[in-house]
């Protein structure tokens, strides 16, 4: 349970704001596109995760509630 980061890969243009704001969970690949750590966002980072979502210039980032295990 908990929120996970989901990226709309078609929207994402590799601006890189998310990795700036949430380096604990997101780093950039060789071309500037985000690589996201698997699993829920730790509670302590929830605020930063929401900032990252809000900062994405193309609205490619969102937080989704995982309800089913393994889905």
């Amino acid at each position: 349970m908990g929120e996970e980061i989901e990226i709309d890969r078609i929207r994402c243009d590799g601006h890189g704001m998310c990795a700036e704001l949430l380096p604990e969970m997101i780093r950039l690949d060789d071309w500037g596109y985000p690589l996201v750590k698997k699993g829920p966002v730790p509670v302590a980072l929830a605020g930063h995760a929401h900032s990252a979502v809000d900062a994405c210039p193309v609205l490619a980032l969102r937080l989704v509630q995982r309800t089913r295990a393994g889905s």
């Binding site: 890969r9 071309w31 596109y33």
Partner: protein, 390 residues
């Protein structure tokens, strides 16, 4: 199913609806388009959302360069594909059936068109044949739905998979034509335990063969007239599949469970036999270049990742490798998967990872601008035991 012989008409009515779904489940019939998803489960998930308002999209857009089996099936047994489409429509509660075929496969289109014109069933009155634009991703299920809806054969971002909202926003069953033909076969009590394979490479008679579902790789080579030269590796499952060392995979059954235990898959039924005189690094570079060129160019990790992978493979094959090429390939092979709207980067990186394992020594040699495929190496290569030539 019998691909090349019209089976005698069966006196009994074919199984339908839930009885058929249950039979498909007992068979554990897996999809034959590449992903191998259980057919019965797919039909159920469409049916429970559809309330009689679903769409069946029979997928015959065969974009895989090494595969011929779907177009061959549609030329040889178009009525079996149509039967499967009708049974699926009845089982999931669909009023519309769309036959989605690659525009470049003229013989398959002609065959399906004339078979459809001959059929009297009322349920086919609203059936349509849609010509898919050429391209590897045109047959991807969300791309197929996207094309039928908007004329754009590029994958769309999940969620809202086609089984939830597909053609015209209706729950849509996208099912490969061989899977539908298999379902029709099973419905009328035929022994459905076969799969269609396309053999190519170092065999005498490459082509499409109908094999027992648990036939071994050796038996496919035998059915194809035997090997023409020593084989070093087999590409199993097509461009989204895996390279496997020939001596390892030769006795292995193509039954899904047997392949799964070796982390292999039959995918869309492609078996390409790579001769010991052909460089695996070179062959891989050609596949990766093709896959990079077939990106729908929507998602960064696919556009740039596959592009960079193809370029590095090319330099290695060309014996002009940069210092870090092989190491970077290993890293990228784990980074691009799961990062596209569709599974294009996943399939490509699976193929790449198998190449990194199977051709490890040759890749290392290529990193140092050498190649291990030499006349001496070919002369001492593993030789397949003599196959029973069918």
């Amino acid at each position: 199913m019998s691909l090349f012989i019209e089976a005698a008409p069966t006196p009994t009515r074919p199984l339908q609806g839930e009885a058929l779904v249950r039979r498909l489940e007992d068979w554990n019939l897996l999809g034959r388009g590449g992903a191998g998803f259980p057919v019965a489960r797919k039909w159920r998930s469409v049916r429970e959302r559809a309330h009689g308002n679903a769409v069946v999209l029979a997928n015959g857009a065969e974009g895989e360069p090494l595969s011929r089996k779907d177009r061959t099936l549609m030329v040889e047994r178009p009525d079996l594909v149509i039967d499967g489409g009708l049974l699926a429509a009845q089982a999931v509660g669909a009023r519309d059936i769309i036959f989605y075929l690659g525009a470049e496969h003229r013989n398959a289109i002609a065959s399906m068109r004339s078979a459809l014109a001959r059929r009297p069933e009322a349920a086919l009155r609203r059936a349509r044949l849609v010509e898919a634009p050429p391209g590897y991703v045109s047959g991807e299920e969300s791309a197929a739905v996207h094309f039928v809806n908007d004329g754009d054969a590029r994958p769309t971002t999940t969620p809202s998979r086609p089984f939830e909202r597909g053609v015209d926003g209706k729950p849509t069953l996208v099912q490969n034509v061989e899977s539908l033909a298999m379902a029709a076969s099973i419905a009328r009590g035929d022994d459905g335990s076969t799969s269609l394979v396309t053999a190519s490479g170092a065999v005498r008679r490459g082509g499409v063969y109908e094999m027992p579902f648990d036939a071994s790789v050796a038996e496919v080579a035998g059915a194809s007239g035997g090997t023409t030269r020593p084989v070093q590796a087999v590409l199993l499952g097509g461009y989204f599949g895996n390279w496997a060392p020939a001596h390892d995979v030769w006795p292995v059954s193509m039954a899904p469970s047997a392949l799964r235990s070796r982390s292999l898959t039959l995918g869309c039924g492609v078996l390409h036999f790579l001769g010991a005189d052909t460089c695996g690094v070179d062959a891989t570079a050609r596949v990766m270049t093709y896959l990079a060129s077939q990106s729908a160019r929507q998602c960064g990790p696919c556009v740039f990742g596959l592009g960079a992978i193809a370029a590095a493979c090319d330099r290695l094959a060309d014996r002009s490798a940069q210092a870090d090429d092989l190491r970077r390939l290993a890293r990228w092979s784990g980074e691009v998967a799961g990062r596209g709207a569709c599974k294009h980067p996943d399939g490509a990186s699976q193929l790449l990872r198998s190449a990194l394992r199977v051709f490890a020594d040759d890749l290392e040699a290529h990193q140092h601008r050498r190649c291990l495929v030499t006349p001496v190496a070919v002369a001492s290569a593993w030789r397949a035991p003599v196959e029973a030539v069918a």
